[in-house]
């Protein structure tokens, strides 16, 4: 079976979610860190740990509600809903934050995990390595298509059967362009290519 794995932030959503959380709850210093991370100047894992630390005292249910309202690309959402068995979200983001958002799409989700008590994050328990998801699905015999834009997508895109750099929200990282098979600039092109790969 062909499996389509999508990065979440900036690929399916029209904006990055961590800066959105930071802005809504008045936490500073996230946006700059996110930009530096996308540009590849701060390693993803380190950046993610630092960003989660800055946001860990926010009520998890309120963050999840907020992210449930984040705008997603409509044609892409329609494709995912129509092929939910074939699609999956692969994100470094925390599963406790993105639950409502992913529910709207109805497909599988692979995310980072945190220990939550009384609606507060106690600690990070697992940070997703996207390439492990690709590897696992390939070993199960699937043909894997990966769609992403950031530095933490590069290794997954390198080992996927096909990889699509998505420049829907911002320019993909240079590392992404150096391994991608395709580049699309809008969701019309992306969805046409996804249909062709079905």
């Amino acid at each position: 079976m062909t499996k389509f794995l999508f990065d979440l932030d900036g690929t399916i959503t029209k904006q990055e979610t961590l800066p959105l959380i930071a802005k809504a709850f008045g936490v500073e210093a996230i946006e700059g860190l996110t930009k530096e991370t996308i540009a590849g100047n701060v390693p993803f894992v380190e950046s993610f740990i630092r960003r989660v630390h800055l946001l860990k005292d926010l009520p998890v249910d309120e963050v999840s509600c907020l992210l449930g309202t984040v705008e997603i690309y409509p044609l892409l959402a329609t494709f995912i809903r129509a092929h939910k068995e074939a699609c999956g979200i692969v994100t470094g983001n925390l599963s406790c934050w993105i639950g409502l958002l992913v529910q709207k799409l109805g497909c599988a989700c692979y995310a980072s995990e945190a220990v939550v008590e009384n609606q507060r994050i106690q600690k990070l328990s697992a940070i997703l390595r996207k390439e492990n998801v690709v590897q696992q699905l390939k070993e199960e015999g699937h043909r894997v298509i990966f769609i992403g834009d950031g530095n933490n997508d590069v290794e997954a895109m390198r080992i996927a059967d096909r990889s699509i750099a998505a420049a829907l929200t911002h320019s993909p990282a240079a590392g992404v362009l150096s391994v991608a098979d395709y580049l699309v600039l809008n969701e019309v092109a992306l969805c046409r290519q996804l249909h062709q790969l079905l």
């Binding site: 096909r162 362009l177 150096s178 098979d181 580049l183 699309v184 600039l185 809008n186 092109a189």
Partner: protein
């Protein structure tokens, strides 16, 4: 045009023989870049696939002005492969038929309209004009029988159109992709490719009348 045809425009090359220091898609022909002229001809085509390699960022920037819905296909091996490989990369995940169009080629727009209405697989060729050409041998009906570096009835310019499963991962030229399927339906068009500076100057003259 058949709804199931993708157009693959190969713009991955270095353009070293031309000597203008830029990939040929970006050279100026009377105020319009090559790729702009090509995209205008393919305005009615839904699936445009631009194969990029050398100078990809500038080609993408130029295409984006006219067709932000194009799919860009990376030929990361552009230094060691030729247009036949770019054709393969562009065709493999596209529609059932893939029209191959070299980024250094200018076809008369009327002839291109005619080609877009053709069905199935075909090869287009032109009167001999280039300095460094590959030739085609044709039969009385204009069908293509063979390619030659030495001599032939016409110059092989492209474009061509093939079923995507016929386009293989070969490192060579597009005509190597076509040879196993000869004879093929042929059609004569007005077309010029730009390999050298002399070709470029010739095209500047010819296009004035288009």
């Amino acid at each position: 045009m058949q709804a199931v045809t993708s157009v693959v425009i190969s713009c991955a090359g270095i353009g070293s023989r031309l000597g203008l220091g830029m990939t040929k898609a970006l050279i100026d022909i009377h105020g319009k870049s090559m790729i702009q002229r090509q995209l205008e001809m393919f305005e009615s085509v839904e699936d445009i696939r631009v194969v990029v390699g050398f100078g990809s960022a500038k080609v993408i920037e130029e295409v984006r002005k006219y067709r932000s819905d194009a799919v860009f296909v990376f030929n990361h091996e552009y230094f060691t492969t030729k247009t036949g490989y770019s054709y393969y990369l562009g065709a493999r995940d596209g529609n059932a038929l893939a029209l191959e169009y070299d980024g250094d080629l200018l076809v008369h727009p009327e002839d291109m309209e005619r080609l877009l209405r053709m069905e199935g697989e075909w090869i287009a060729y032109a009167d001999k004009a280039s300095e460094d050409a590959v030739y085609v041998q044709v039969d009385a009906a204009g069908n293509v029988l063979g390619f030659s570096r030495e001599d032939g009835d016409f110059e092989w310019t492209g474009p061509c159109c093939m079923k995507k499963e016929h386009v293989k991962p070969l490192a060579g030229n597009v005509y190597s992709q076509l040879e196993p399927y000869l004879p093929m339906k042929g059609i004569k068009i007005r077309a010029y490719d730009i390999d050298t500076y002399a070709d470029y100057q010739h095209v500047l003259e010819v296009v004035k009348d288009w």
